[in-house]
């Protein structure tokens, strides 16, 4: 179960990375198309990739502790108070994100039912890119609920365990280490 979930978040992160590359590739397509004289409109494909990257990245980014929060007051808390505050914050997000997920699926369903089509040259049915929003939110919701129960059981929150301090990200270059 644990490994299954971790894989889910990791794969979701990779999907996000794939869509980030896709933004670049559609732009490359547009630039090349301009030289050859073919009109390739990347506004929609790049935009849809952008949305997909954001939503599929949510859970991964959360687990890595990259989403921003104000930790000014949390730093003074410890022990049981710290645990309660963490449960409150994560629990609150579970509620908000389940609401968002529900309405995101509703949104997908109605754009499918009414056959909404994007206005660009490609005329993509809108439910396809919007599905990325719904699925990404759902994976984020799973990650949040997972977090809630693991904190409840006394675990260290993943967003603290995995987070790297800013200066820790910088690897010391080899050639000066000896000095």
């Amino acid at each position: 179960m644990r490994r299954c979930l971790d894989h889910l978040y990791q794969i979701s992160g990779y999907i996000a990375a794939f869509f980030m590359v896709m933004i670049g590739l559609t732009i490359v397509g547009q630039i090349c198309g301009r030289f050859v004289g073919i009109a390739i409109d990347s506004t929609e494909t790049a935009g849809f990739s952008m949305a997909a990257m954001t939503f599929f990245g949510l859970a991964y980014t959360f687990r890595q502790g990259e989403h921003i929060r104000v930790t000014l007051f949390l730093r003074f808390a410890s022990g049981r108070i710290k645990k309660l505050l963490d449960l409150f914050a994560v629990g609150f997000c579970v509620i908000i994100i389940s609401y968002l997920t529900y309405w995101a699926f509703d949104f997908v369903y109605f754009s499918y039912k009414f056959d909404e089509i994007s206005q660009g040259l490609l005329a993509i049915p809108f439910w396809i890119p919007r599905l990325a929003m719904a699925l990404g939110s759902l994976i984020f919701l799973i990650a949040l609920s997972d977090e809630f129960f693991s904190v409840l059981k006394g675990g260290i929150p993943s967003y603290e365990e995995n987070a790297s301090p800013v200066y820790g990200e910088i690897e010391e270059p080899k050639d000066i280490r000896g000095r």
Binding site: A17, V28, I31, M50, M53, G57, L58, Y60, R69
Partner: protein, 435 residues
């Protein structure tokens, strides 16, 4: 309910949620929900889904992940290790000597990394031990790092300016060009300050002998020049109207990959790290922007921002008075919040006010970013201060004291661009007339 009371209520709720440690983006969504569901008859659920969707596939935003990724790639090349040795021979003869390496080094690193804490840490890691060994004044060395580290927010390609552009619906190309000269201005102010201090008190910086000739200097900075060239061509293509910011960013990513490959620092591992690093940062920022879009829609439904802007109108504030008040407000908020959140939280209310007062929104973008920069070196939440504290082993008080002059120098920068707004707007006008 009366608009003023309502906005204060919503604002206090938001502060409460944020203070309790709830992540910024969900907190924004929650307050937007309260604003719509409790105070209007609009269908909140479907509004939430459609606003969040519309905000997330914004074309202007697509430049953001690409610029972040470009920075992540360049950051993993030899750039950071070569920064000190590459710049030192050029700057050593100036009064204040190698302290200028901190300032220029941060300026270059800033254009690449886009995060001020990372800029500060990368440059500082090389220069702090070196400067200490050569007997430079440590307070001045810490101060220059803290101050110049924040330049990353302003010097294009600036992530902060993209965020502002999306919030204020301003052209990102124009914002980038508007940010160039104020960035150079602030570097100039910092360098003059260091030079004057060093001339007044020679104990602060030893006089260095420079023995290298021009070719040797070039050789020392051979890894630095291509990166600077890449940044110039990215900005230049935007300025010349040859490319949109997103296209320029794509070219930047490709250029960065080629540079990394040529300097033999591109491996599958570093590629994947840069990719995932880019995803994390962009996802975090976009999620906050999406939350902010919903909150601002909610505020629009309640009609509060217009009414608040009306109040400010009635006060008959001159634009300069408004700027003074907003500067104080941002510096205060900066004591608790990070830059993106600060911008996002205030946008819905402040931007209509500013527009009403007849202040140019491009100019205001540059102003906001400089104030956010100042917030990075104000305690208790000054990210650069934390970084420098852990790198030098000094306590937070002395780090803060070392940084304070630079806080006021940035304030001086704001004063100058307020008195001479042409520094910001003139290059943009030339660009518009050209294209």
């Amino acid at each position: 309910m009366e608009a003023g009371t309502l906005s204060i209520l919503l604002f206090l709720t938001l502060l409460g949620l944020l203070a309790s440690g709830i992540w910024v983006a969900p907190a924004l969504l929650a307050v937007g929900f309260i604003g719509i569901d409790f105070f209007t008859d609009a269908p909140v659920g479907s509004l939430l889904a459609s606003t969040v969707w519309d905000a997330s596939w914004n074309w202007a935003l697509t430049a953001l992940p690409l610029f972040v990724w470009m920075g992540e790639i360049l950051f993993r090349t030899r750039l950071s290790s070569d920064m000190f040795n590459g710049l030192a021979p050029w700057l050593v003869r100036l009064p204040g000597g190698l302290l200028h390496v901190n300032i220029i080094g941060c300026g270059v690193m800033a254009a690449v990394a886009g995060s001020s804490a990372v800029t500060c840490a990368t440059v500082g890691r090389m220069s702090i031990p070196e400067l200490r060994k050569r007997g430079y004044d440590e307070m001045l060395s810490i101060g220059t790092l803290a101050g110049s580290g924040t330049l990353g927010l302003l010097i294009p390609p600036s992530i902060m300016l993209i965020v502002y552009g999306v919030l204020a619906q301003q052209s990102i190309s124009r914002l980038f060009i508007a940010g160039v000269f104020p960035g150079i201005l602030i570097i100039g102010i910092f360098m003059s300050y260091v030079a004057i201090r060093a001339l007044l008190d020679p104990k602060l910086a030893p006089v260095e002998e420079s023995s290298s000739n021009f070719l040797e200097k070039l050789k020392a900075s051979r890894h630095l020049i291509p990166v600077v060239g890449l940044i110039f061509s990215v900005i230049g293509s935007i300025y010349g109207g040859y490319a949109t910011p997103t296209e320029a960013a794509t070219v930047g990513v490709i250029g960065a990959l080629i540079l990394a490959w040529l300097s033999k620092s591109l491996s599958w591992k570093s590629f994947l790290e840069s990719l995932m690093g880019g995803v994390k940062t962009s996802c975090m920022i976009t999620f906050i922007l999406v939350g902010a879009a919903f909150l601002s829609t909610a505020m629009g439904f309640t009609g509060a921002p217009k009414i608040l802007a009306g109040y400010v109108d009635e006060l008959n504030l001159t634009p300069s008075m408004l700027i003074v008040i907003l500067t104080i407000l941002y510096i205060f908020l900066g004591c608790f919040l990070d830059g993106v959140s600060m911008m996002v939280l205030t946008a819905a209310v402040v931007l209509p006010m500013v527009e009403n007062a007849g202040i140019n929104l491009l100019w205001f973008g540059v102003f906001t970013v400089i104030v956010v920069e100042m917030a990075q070196i104000t305690p208790p939440v000054g990210f650069n201060l934390f970084v420098l504290q852990s790198m030098t082993g000094r306590d937070i008080m002395s780090v803060t004291r070392a940084s304070m002059p630079f806080f006021f120098l940035m304030l001086l920068g704001i004063l100058i661009i307020t008195l001479v707004p042409e520094i910001v707007l003139w290059p943009v006008e030339i660009m518009i007339n050209r294209n």
